[in-house]
């Protein structure tokens, strides 16, 4: 079936007024971004719908991309036909034959904005319905909850026919929720938290701590590759690599073992906050889940969070591990997340971290360190790269392999 355009219905417009315009504009921009390699496509954002005119582009390929754009509630592939009864009937039949499966119920739903068209909505409903009955077996009409609704829209320029309602991912267009930093470790949770942040329209930049030679280039590349997967949902994501080894070594040398973890985390949060401020962002996101590990008890969170008043948002805070894994599998980050490379969180993990650290103690121990100097040196070593959808960092020899094999 050669669809001519896609009608896109918007998701939740939680704040109205001027925001509505921002929402639609941002969504149109994001759709343009994901469809950038289809130059023939035209995108027309209107106040209640967006029309994507395919001009010959393949619907199934566009469909794959639209499924990942936040802010789209539903969409329908549509065929534009000339304003004759014959065109309506023939196209309707073709569409129904393609999507109808035995046992389904259907109805015809006509809307008419061109009131000069020869037939009114009731006439069209009846005539098209009769025509379909005549040419297809097993059809059953159901007015209240049909399995298929054949929509016919009679407009000034042409008639638009569709019978599928596809569901988008919902959420808010990325960018409408402001900008924030995301603390990405490379484990299972933080990519899921990133996805959920993007889903609420928050445009995130990744902060990743790495500690060569304790952590390998592979671990860094893994985090970058995860970012590449998440970039499918936003077009591109900045990746900020922060060197963390000096801080970890210093803490290990100077502080008692029980507080290693707490103080390391306080440093991470401080660094995240400084980077956020430098880049004019509003919040910090991370993948903490309550009670999952020692650093994620409420006592630990309180002791760690002590270093900033910036909102720290934890999208997976109350999810079970199994729920997080399920979502990680759905968004395609799971297989990569479980690749076993040491990251900076595991390399200096003390055998018996305090699960109930005291804020006062943490502050007291930290006073022994040159906090500002350590932070400054780490900040001076950060590297920012922009990562695009599905960009590869690990299997970068695949092409070479393909040439050999």
């Amino acid at each position: 079936m050669k669809y001519t355009e896609i009608m896109v219905r918007y998701g939740e417009l939680s704040t109205k007024g001027k925001n509505r315009k921002d929402f639609i504009g941002r969504l149109a921009g994001n759709v343009t971004k994901v469809l950038h390699d289809f130059p023939e496509i035209e995108i027309h954002p209107r106040h209640d719908r967006m029309h994507i005119v395919l001009n010959g582009a393949s619907f199934s390929e566009v469909d794959q991309r639209l499924r990942k754009v936040f802010g789209i509630q539903t969409y329908s592939p549509t065929i534009k036909v000339e304003k004759t009864l014959q065109a309506i009937e023939e196209t309707s039949l073709e569409l129904m034959k393609e999507t109808f499966k035995p046992g389904m119920t259907f109805k015809v739903n006509t809307r008419r904005s061109d009131h000069h068209f020869t037939y009114d909505t009731n006439e069209l409903n009846t005539m098209v319905g009769d025509y379909l009955f005549k040419h297809m077996a097993d059809l059953k009409v159901e007015m209240k909850h049909p399995d298929l609704t054949l929509r016919i829209e009679v407009r000034q320029d042409a008639i638009y026919i569709s019978n599928q309602l596809l569901h988008g991912v919902g959420g808010m267009p990325v960018g409408t929720g402001g900008r924030a930093v995301m603390m990405l470790s490379g484990g299972i949770d933080s990519p899921v938290a990133s996805y959920l942040a993007l889903k609420r329209g928050v445009d995130i930049e990744m902060i990743h701590f790495y500690s060569p030679p304790y952590t390998t280039q592979k671990a860094l590349n893994k985090a970058k590759e995860l970012t590449g997967i998440l970039a499918n949902y936003s077009g591109r994501i900045n990746f900020i690599a922060v060197p963390f080894a000096e801080i970890q070594e210093t803490i290990k040398e100077k502080l008692p073992e029980g507080y290693l973890m707490t103080v390391q985390r306080r440093f991470m949060l401080r660094l995240a906050d400084r980077i956020r401020a430098q880049r004019n962002e509003l919040a910090i996101f991370n993948g903490e889940s309550v009670g999952q590990v020692a650093s994620q008890t409420l006592e630990s969170m309180a002791a760690i969070n002590d270093v900033t008043t910036t909102p720290v948002v934890r999208p997976v805070a109350t999810m079970d591990k199994t729920e997080i894994i399920k979502l990680a599998e759905e968004i395609g980050t799971f297989d990569l997340s479980i690749e076993p490379f040491e990251d900076c969180c595991t390399i200096f993990a003390p055998p018996r971290p305090k699960t109930k650290p005291k804020i006062d103690k943490a502050r007291e121990f930290e006073a022994r360190l040159d906090v500002e100097g350590l932070i400054e040196r780490a900040l001076s070593g950060i590297k920012v790269t922009t990562i695009h959808p599905n960009e590869k960092f690990l299997a970068d020899k695949a092409e070479e392999d393909a040439a050999l094999l």
Binding site: K218, K397, D401, A402, L404, L405
Partner: protein, 385 residues
């Protein structure tokens, strides 16, 4: 020169050799090493495995690299026998297997296992009813080859699979060394096959490398203990250049598989049609779907196979007696013997085996040469009388 001995070994393909060389020269790190060079090697190992799995239609984790057909057969057979010895010590095979299978079972018999060797009919085929009757509660393994290496019979792997569906705990091994790339894959590799063997030098790749397919979840005791490579099933540093070359060779092999098989069959048909007209010639490889397209085995009454092979060699035509692996031993229990072919006729047999590089022109030349040889021998043996 005409090379009609492709079931013994094939000529290595130039581009396959170039892959071998490139990998040996440039990607020589040990795949188990932690550093970048090891990484690079590990990645190529994975790419090779992925490609092979995809081409064979199996999962990546079901592909194990071995040193070749013999090791794959031994790992499958001894590995199963040892692994499952608590559950039974009865093993079933056929009487027409390759030496690397047959001698495996002889060795296991010496270790106290009970082995049933199924007979074959006059086409060299195993009968499924015989197998049904042979199975008992002690049976842990059935090993039947896909394509016979001496006369090209395709064994009824599909029917055997149907039967074995009722015996899920019996491991089913198929020696498919002669069967890959002959456009008969669905006949010799089914869902029910648990283990299958392949050897790279049979398809224009280097020797010393092969594959054991092992279905997910099936257990084998390893024959080699060591560094735990190949998930512990086959320790030893991976032969990466050969593995990559093999991955490439399989891709080439399965490209235009049907056309290649048709070409081989055309050569076989042409020579076979000619031989049919010669009194005293007995053809063992038939021209139907029960036989692989690339093997033609026949005997010239009164002339030992060895003599015929050497005579053809004088004309620069290379063939073999029925199996290269058995050709140096005259007392070998051969497929023909198992088919109850007269010993005199069996020792007269020779095997022509083709590949896609052979041509109909070569077939014509072979016929022309054979005609001269035949006239000479026929006279001596009074074949025309």
């Amino acid at each position: 020169m005409i090379y009609f001995d492709n079931s013994a070994t094939t000529k290595i393909d130039d581009t396959v050799l170039s892959t071998y060389n490139t990998v040996a020269r440039d990607i020589w790190g040990n795949p188990s090493s932690l550093h970048q060079m090891g990484d690079r090697a590990a990645q190529l190992l994975t790419s090779s495995r992925q490609q092979i799995a995809q081409l064979l239609g199996v999962k990546q984790e079901e592909v194990f690299f071995t040193s070749g057909g013999t090791e794959s057969n031994n790992t499958a057979i001894k590995g199963t026998a040892i692994q499952k010895r608590e559950f039974g010590k009865h093993l079933i095979t056929s009487s027409v297997e390759h030496a690397s299978v047959m001698n495996d079972f002889n060795a296991l018999e010496n270790l106290g296992y009970r082995v049933t060797r199924l007979p074959v009919d006059r086409h060299g085929r195993v009968n499924v009813n015989d197998l049904r009757q042979a199975i008992d509660t002690d049976t842990t393994l059935v090993s039947i080859m896909g394509v016979n290496n001496e006369i090209g019979t395709i064994q009824p792997i599909d029917d055997i699979s149907d039967l074995l569906t009722n015996y899920p705990t019996i491991q089913f091994h198929v020696d498919n060394v002669q069967a890959l790339g002959k456009n008969i894959w669905s006949q010799v590799f089914t869902e029910r096959v648990d283990l299958a063997s392949f050897s790279a030098h049979k398809f224009h790749a280097p020797r010393g490398i092969g594959i054991l397919y092992k279905k997910t979840g099936k257990m084998l005791s390893p024959l080699l203990d060591g560094g735990g490579q190949e998930k512990g099933l086959r320790s030893g540093t991976e032969n990466l250049p050969a593995i990559a070359a093999m991955a490439k060779a399989i891709r080439l092999l399965l490209t235009d598989e049907q056309a290649k098989a048709e070409q081989e069959l055309a050569i076989k048909s042409k020579i076979s049609d000619y031989l049919q007209t010669k009194p005293g010639v007995k053809i063992f490889s038939e021209l139907n779907d029960d036989f692989a397209p690339h093997i033609l085995c026949f005997a010239l009454k009164g002339i030992r196979g060895e003599t015929l092979v050497h005579t053809l060699e004088d004309y620069d035509i290379y063939t073999s007696t029925t199996s290269a692996c058995a050709s140096t031993r005259s007392d070998e229990a051969s497929t023909l013997a198992a088919m109850h072919i007269d010993n005199d006729l069996a020792t007269s047999a020779i095997r022509l085996s083709f590949d896609e590089s052979n041509t109909l022109a070569e077939a014509t030349e072979f016929i022309h040469t054979f005609e001269q040889i035949y006239n000479h021998f026929a006279q001596i043996n009074h074949l025309g009388d």
